[in-house]
Amino acid sequence: MTTYRGSCHCGRVRFEVDAELDHVRVCDCSICRRRGALNHRVSKEQLRLLTPWEDLVLYQWGSHTAKDFFCPVCGILPFRRPSDPTLQERRDGIEPFDGWAVNVRCLEGVDLDTLPIRRIHGSHIQVAAPAAAACPDGAIPGDVLRFDVYGRFRLEVVRDADAWEVYQLGTGTRARDVSVLIPSELPADEIASYLDDLFHELGGPGQSVRRIL
């Protein structure tokens, strides 16, 4: 693990990151294409901001799950919180990522031309976005909700373009549960009470299904 120093261009934003730069991610979505960012993901603890958070501007759009931080003076984006995994990524077993995507362009002492590139086709995710109009209550394909059912088991509910998909969560396991059907048009904030109706015989007095994500 190497510690790199990083900054925007004008110097208002400075940071340090511990990383093993074995690759960079290049995405072709509408924002990455404009920024040309070379991203490398690190855990939360591996990034240390040396200047005040207030000196950064936060930009969010679309699903509002990603957080782009940039310098308002020179416009450079030093790092971002990636968006939540897409539905396909969830199906492939990819967990939500809780760390940072650091823009390797901002790091000192890195030869950008020699880093292996991992191409990410973020633009394809955007193609699916219009389907969001069909989702109830502002739900967006790829939205992930989790519920605790009376402490007995946990369910993960994932928004597909036109349906809610249900998964049983175990310790380190996740399996599709087709026996639980949630109406496609049910808004996200009504799923907990819907599950209560479904599973009420399992619950004790005063217990209710809790949303945990």
């Binding site: 261009h9 004008c10 294409r33 404009r34 920024r35 040309g36 930009y59 782009d68 940039f70 003076v73």
Partner: protein
């Protein structure tokens, strides 16, 4: 041909009237620190015409560095740099960032890496007068 471009949030929009076909657009990836960090890739033509539409003037950041002879037009809402403008002898010249172009696969455009590090200020301004877009308007749509 007419090319549209914009920052990500749409606060800054470009209309570039280009005197030729797509294949005639050459892209220059400058090797300076600013352009590297922005991954900015520039193009210009001495017979082109550029209009920059600004929806919210308060969210247009003009960033200067180095010789201080060009303003880099950055959207203060989304951080994208759309163009650089330089006022020389009372005329505004500009280059545009092709990464902001819409409906064009900019990865297919011909690219060259350029370095202007050793250039003097006089040489730099002369080069801009020769190569940059000489017909530039920045319009505040709100007004």
């Amino acid at each position: 041909m007419r090319i549209s471009g914009r920052c990500h949030c749409g606060n800054l929009k470009l209309v570039l009237e280009w005197p030729g076909e797509l294949s005639s657009i050459g892209v220059r990836a400058c090797g300076c620190d600013f352009c590297t960090k922005h991954a900015a890739s520039w193009t210009s033509h001495r017979d082109a015409r550029l209009t920059v539409h600004v929806a919210q003037p308060g969210l247009l950041a003009k960033y200067r560095f180095g010789t201080g002879t060009a303003d880099f037009l950055v959207c203060a809402r989304c951080g994208v740099v759309v163009a650089a403008a330089s006022l020389i002898d009372d005329r505004m010249y500009a280059v545009v960032n092709v990464n902001t172009f819409e409906d064009i696969d900019v990865t297919a455009l011909e690219r060259a890496v350029t370095h202007f590090d050793g250039e003097g200020t006089g040489e730099r301004l002369d080069r801009r007068k020769r190569n940059w877009i000489p017909d530039v308007r920045i319009l505040h749509d709100q007004a």
